[in-house]
Amino acid sequence: MTTGNGIAVHADRVSRHYEMGAAVIRAVDDVTLEIRAGEFVALLGSSGSGKSTLLNLMAGLDQPTGGAIFANGRNLSELSSLELARYRSRTVGMVFQSFNLLPRMTLEENVELPLRLAEVDRAERGARVQEALERVSLEKRLTHRPSEMSGGEQQRAALARALVNRPSLLFADEPTGNLDSATGESIMLLLKEIQQKLGMTIVMVTHERPLAERFADRIAALADGKLLTDGVKS
């Protein structure tokens, strides 16, 4: 779902400042960024540049202290707690650097979890889980727990979990950060494939410029909370 002008997410002069005693930490400072529907955008920057904070703001996990985030035309700051939860559940899929699978659940249960939260009918869930796992080629590992899977498999499982509710936005926070380069590349190929096949909008946080240049359609570089460049692929 997008607005009429094809913009999926629009960060309008967004700031996220933290007060630490007398000091003010400007994690994100006056950033304006537009992400078009179906686009694969990489937020590039070193540690502490504010890229993850900006991603969290766009995912509705955090609230800006200034400016506004518009997703599908709606100002996230104006949504109630419940509406924000629904936005995260039905519009957004998230992938993290540390996978964040629940260790005591099987792969099937982990992938089913967003469907429970979105109150999808029980009868429909099996097929949806199967579909998501087939997309990441893990359909034969249903009963395995995260501890029984490799890092790459866990990240693919996390990707299946992010896709199971068929979101229009996929936010990935350093998805290859905990993986070796070969596995990381396979994950990036999978993300690219998903973008191309499903027409999904993907925003990925990374500090690896080669990876961003190879797979993203556009790179937004951040430093010290500010947007340095937008769209440059060297």
Binding site: L61, L82, R86, R88, S89, R90, L117
Partner: protein, 453 residues
């Protein structure tokens, strides 16, 4: 999140920290057991007291007398006009009383002095008639021998003290016969009655008279009772030789009130000095008493004593519940502690849930359900523990009572309302205990929670 999913996730979470959650649930169970044991003891003692007092005939009976019999002996005031005419307590009145709603039975009190002959020796005692309904109402619990074989059987049950007068080996009396000598009331022929009434009551055509004829009746001893059954007000107490009411009635033995009735007009019909009206429950006594008074009779009961008894047990139960709840209060702290620990341990998981779309409400409900499930299991387990404690208390009490040569007593009772109430109370207390942890979990910032290692 749907209720089914909430329940599944909550149970899964509880299973993950099975030892800690089991111990917390056990804490709730101990608290509930303490509460159930205390209240069951209160309820049991109340039931025991009510049963014993009910058996005594103190609280579920109304004694009915002709109104004038209840007036003190004094000269009637010349200008006193009774609001309702005095009614005679005859068979018509008895039938009318028996038809009142919630009345179980109406029977006359028959009690008369007698001389008993046993083994050639005379013994003075009081004979009392026992209604056949006493067979199953607990009045004769612990009887040595048996109750009367039928309502018209020529049989006798001896009160232990009287039995000791007859023989030191009281048990050997059962199966033996004794002879009762009594004064039978024999109605005079009409002309003789009229002649007898000439002096003072010639104007009263209804005046009757009777003569006293000595009689004997052989009775077979079938039982001995240790305690004095139904010794109370309005019952057949103070009788030391008990015979079936029908037999006592057929003897037509002269009673204390006969002389008074002889000088009153009774139209020749048999009249009763008093009737005992047995009511379905003590709570209905007041209504029956009013109805009887409205019929033109005098009536009294020990209603106030029943009220005081209920008040006493209500306060007693309340105090027991307060002491019993102390353990549950401690268990509540255990639930809070367990859930707060769970928040710390599952901080990251809460962050993940929120990132995946869980609303604050979902997280709060999840912790609530976990607290509720601990309360539910703890409550159910507590009721079972409480029941066992009660059984142990009853057993211990009865061992003590037997050593004191006293009959056994059931001092413990777990009614259904207590079972359901205790479980519901445990769940409610657990939910209250879960308020703070659930609220704290729901307010967790997902970004901070996801960073937590």
């Amino acid at each position: 999140m749907k209720a089914g999913d909430l329940g599944e996730l909550a149970l899964r979470n509880l299973r993950e920290a099975v030892l800690r959650n089991s111990l917390t649930t056990l804490g709730v169970a101990v608290g509930v057991a303490s509460l159930v044991a205390m209240l069951s003891l209160g309820v049991g003692l109340q039931e025991l007291a009510t049963k014993r007092l009910s058996n005594s005939g103190l609280f579920d009976t109304v004694v009915v007398m002709p109104r004038r019999n209840m007036q003190p002996m004094r000269r009637p005031a010349a200008n006193l006009v009774p609001s309702k005419p005095d009614r005679v307590l005859d068979d018509d009145a008895r039938n009318e009383l028996a038809r009142l709603p919630n009345v179980l039975e109406v029977y006359p009190q028959i009690r008369f002095p007698t001389e008993v002959r046993y083994n050639g020796s005379p013994y003075s005692t009081i004979v009392a008639g026992v209604p056949d309904s006493s067979r199953g109402n607990g009045s004769f619990d612990g009887i040595q021998g048996s109750f009367f074989s039928g309502p018209n059987a020529d049989e006798a049950i001896l009160q232990i003290e009287f039995a000791k007068d007859l023989s030191e080996q009281t048990a050997s009396l059962i199966g033996k016969d004794l002879v009762v000598r009594y004064a039978e009331r024999e109605a005079l022929p009409p002309e003789s009655a009229a002649a007898g009434a000439k002096g003072s009551n010639a104007a009263d055509p209804g005046a009757g008279g009777f003569s006293i004829v000595p009689r004997e009746k052989k009775l077979h001893i079938v039982g001995i009772v240790e305690t004095e059954p139904a010794a109370g007000f309005g019952g057949f107490g103070s009788g030391r030789l008990l015979i079936p009411l029908e037999v006592a009635s057929a003897l037509r033995a002269a009673q204390v009130n006969d002389l008074r009735d002889a000088v009153r007009a009774t139209n020749g019909k048999p009249v009763y000095a008093s009737l005992t009206v047995r009511v379905k429950s003590p709570a209905l006594v007041e209504g029956i008493e009013t109805a009887v008074k409205n019929m033109g009779f005098g009536a009294f009961s020990l209603l106030d004593a029943t009220r005081n008894l209920r008040l006493f047990f209500t306060i007693f139960d309340l105090l027991l519940a307060i002491f019993g709840s102390l353990a549950l209060a401690v268990a509540t702290l255990g639930i809070i502690n367990t859930l707060v620990m769970a928040i710390l341990e599952r901080r990251r998981e809460i962050g993940i849930l929120k990132a995946l779309g869980a609303a604050d409400r979902d997280v709060k409900q999840l912790f609530f359900v976990e607290a509720g499930v601990m309360g539910l299991f703890g409550g159910a387990l507590g009721v079972v523990f409480g029941w066992f404690i009660g059984r142990a208390l009853t057993w211990g009490t009865n061992v003590y009572l037997h050593r004191q040569n006293l009959p056994s007593a059931h001092v413990f009772s777990v009614p259904w309302w207590l079972v359901l109430g205790a479980i519901a109370f445990a769940v409610i207390v657990s939910l209250i205990a879960g308020l703070y942890p659930a609220s704290r979990a729901a307010k967790l910032n997902p970004v901070e929670a996801l960073r937590y290692e």
